[in-house]
Symmetry: C3
Subunit: 343 residues, 3 copies
């Protein structure tokens, strides 16, 4: 027993390191974020993780360097930090913030940096594009996928999920537009979700934003590792029904279900409220805050806990998505989109 | 890793086979249901199931034949299929649809056939007997049980649970009468639950149907494998309190709790709405739909995942039910029923 | 298989013994509580626990004697039993029922005795101190902790949690005052929670009681083994947000969240209603009642299932609480309390 504890303490010595062996990859990269005087046992494993340690005791220690500030100007995101240290990460890939390999890679690099960057105290994620938070995965990545990209693409998606869920600072989603599928997944990874009912100039609520894992409607299936997280938010039964039918409720219904935490009348207000919530999440001792968050989410993150599980998931997805039936469903869906946009 | 995937793909080759190794028994029997062109990885294991494969890697492959249409005319159920391919399975064992070994065997055979039968697109389960959906287990099976029947009886109950929960087509419960104990369990295994408030000619709602796992009141206990499913529907705390006290709420309360999904004014309407819901569940690509359902329910089905676990559960039940205390409680309950019916 | 069952039956022979191997320590001590004629398989392991048996098969059988009535007059609790066999355990450590090592030891001894004592049919836990149910852990145990006490202290806290959650008789919390942190944990271990809105002479609801795991606000973190229980009551997402922010809702909000089961206008009424609920929980066959409770809670009790896990948890806590950062946070908090009390 003592051996296990010592080893996990050693691993964390002098740093805020991993929540648990589970999340080594992304969390290790937050190392430099260790506040001065952080306790040795700061990001120690919680009880219950001991068992995992036994099983994976053979995993060799990897060396991680603290993340560096990305040198290139970001193409797909806009990043601004207020006087109070709240950093706004705006998704900005026209026309609908669809998520490509390069988008995930850029977002992940910046998030890793922000996790370590002293100036940043909290993050608000919103969209720079009117009426859409994110349309989800870029379908050109999954329709007739390129074999050399598809695994990398999926791994970068997994990594985003792990980074969001283990981010060491408060992270608030300002959902200022429609947010289906992977758009919803970005919001699910945050600590708090504020959603706009619709756009600012919305007469009589004629335009209402929607959110939800609707992959089923396209003939796909939501990533298996998002399903327990969906249930975490709304209860298992609601999550199952919504997944089976690919439901995308409007903001007020999403609030009742528990999928989001707060509704605002419009997009602008959503971002304002997200800033206020970020400040609220900063009023408590931060080490305690993220320890509680980590302990609660550990269970649902276990599905991507090891390289082995991440690889299995990647193989599962790449084979599934390349099947004739899935490709046919995607084809049908894309044709329908095209014929709609022609009208 | 690859070995595991290949093996699980091989197992499923050319068929819609098992959700996972967990559910081999019933699901294998749906094999013939494979739609033309179904992808090899159709009913592949979801990520996370890999581990089970390692542990049970020694399980030998069994040969299953696709289920054949039962040759005998059903005694305890009535089966009718609409033009639209919705099959109504009516429970029809007078006087109160109590569930005997032969009832389970017949129901299971027909459900396996319907899972494979091309004509059937979805199933609606209802009762052919006025004011009772099902009174639950036939108490003559558990009061002074016959040693040679009791294990078979319990196994056929387990198998029904696995068949319902892994059924490859939408399956809607039209709860057109009281539904205590195992009656409730049938409904719990479906994809959607519509419940009538009371009978058609119900003056001032003077007669209200009830549903719930009330085994505690009889001195029994609900099957352990239904408890996580009860929590899945209503949250753990509500489920625990209802189990402790054996509560059987009326339809409107069951709806608020999440035990059912929809209330109708009367029995006839319940069946109509169930048909409408079946059609709604058919509007999405079906492979995606059941993959989502399978991934969500896998956790609670794990308690009956292997032969070993099913056998343990059967031994637990048979010993428990034969204990003097349980038999005394049943005796008391049956005496009370008798004295009531005499009045 | 049979071997496992036989061994677990043997272990329970003639007694109401452990729920499962998991809970040997406290539950074994209830042995004498076996009602006359209790079935051999009374407190048998539920299915699914089989696996644990395999893994821990090497655990040697320990001998436990039935608990004896404590010989000393209790210092920190008051104990009275009504004609109907409902025992009221009043927390009575002035000024605010803060929980010290000696408090836990005394409470645990008496609860073990009450679990076995024939006269006691059910227990109501309340506070003898106006306006506070319990202020939580005695901070003098955790601020500059004494090395020789801190492990014992934490173990006695763990043991209280196991005793409450596996108590063989109905146990109702009458929360007649504020109930933060470990105060809330006592209530969480009960079968039903009745909470007073405020004190009796409460003009215009100007004084409202609060409840919740607010450890985060002190720079601590709730015990990891209480987190799944918090989620059990309120759903994972609500639990996470409340843990992150250290929220302490008033009674009416706690009811909406599911943290408590019933609100009464004042303290006196809370105790009265708790007695009524105790009687309600006694109306069903008791073996069935606690079997259902045990099977439902087994999952969240697994975190303290073995000596190994309890030791790991204890080491985690003792190291965490002795870290400079935690001690600094406690110092700050205690200073604030002092300056407040001076005003």
């Amino acid at each position: 027993m003592r051996r296990v504890i010592s080893s996990s303490l050693a691993r964390c010595a002098g740093t805020v390191c991993v929540t648990s062996a589970l999340l080594q990859l992304p969390q290790r990269r937050f190392q430099s974020q260790a506040p001065p005087g952080a306790p040795q046992q700061g990001r120690q494993q919680a009880p219950g993780a001991a068992r995992a340690d036994y099983e994976h005791g053979h995993e060799t220690e990897r060396e991680f360097e603290p993340p560096k500030k990305p040198t290139e100007v970001p193409k797909f995101v806009k990043i601004n930090t207020t006087d109070k240290g709240i950093t706004n990460v705006q998704l900005a890939r026209a026309p609908v913030n669809s998520l490509s390999l390069e988008f995930f890679q850029e977002l992940n690099q910046w998030m890793l940096w922000l996790g370590s960057n002293e100036e940043t105290k909290a993050v608000v994620i919103s969209s720079a594009i009117p009426t859409v938070f994110s349309a989800g995965l870029d379908l050109s990545e999954v329709h007739n996928p390129k074999p050399e990209r598809i695994s990398l693409f999926w791994q970068s998606f997994q990594e985003m999920w792990l980074i969001l869920n283990s981010f060491p600072k408060p992270i608030i989603a300002a959902i200022n537009g429609n947010s289906p599928a992977a758009g919803c997944i970005i919001a699910m990874g945050c600590d708090y979700r504020v959603m706009a009912r619709g756009p600012k100039d919305n007469q009589n609520n004629s335009r209402l934003y929607r959110i939800g894992l609707n992959e089923t409607k396209l003939g796909l299936v939501a990533p298996p590792w998002t399903m327990p997280a969906y249930a975490y938010l709304m209860g298992s039964r609601q999550a199952e029904r919504m997944l089976q039918l690919g439901e995308t409720p409007v903001a007020d219904d999403a609030l009742k279900l528990g999928l989001i935490d707060e509704v605002t009348p419009d997009d602008e207000r959503a971002v304002e409220v997200a800033y206020q919530q970020a400040e609220r999440f900063l009023t408590v001792p931060q080490q305690s805050r993220w320890m509680a968050r980590d302990m609660m989410r550990r269970e649902y993150l276990q599905m991507l806990a090891s390289d082995e599980e991440r690889n299995y998931d990647t193989e599962f997805f790449t084979q599934f998505v390349q099947s004739p039936e899935v490709q046919k469903n995607l084809e049908t869906y894309l044709q329908r989109l095209k014929s709609r946009s022609r009208k």
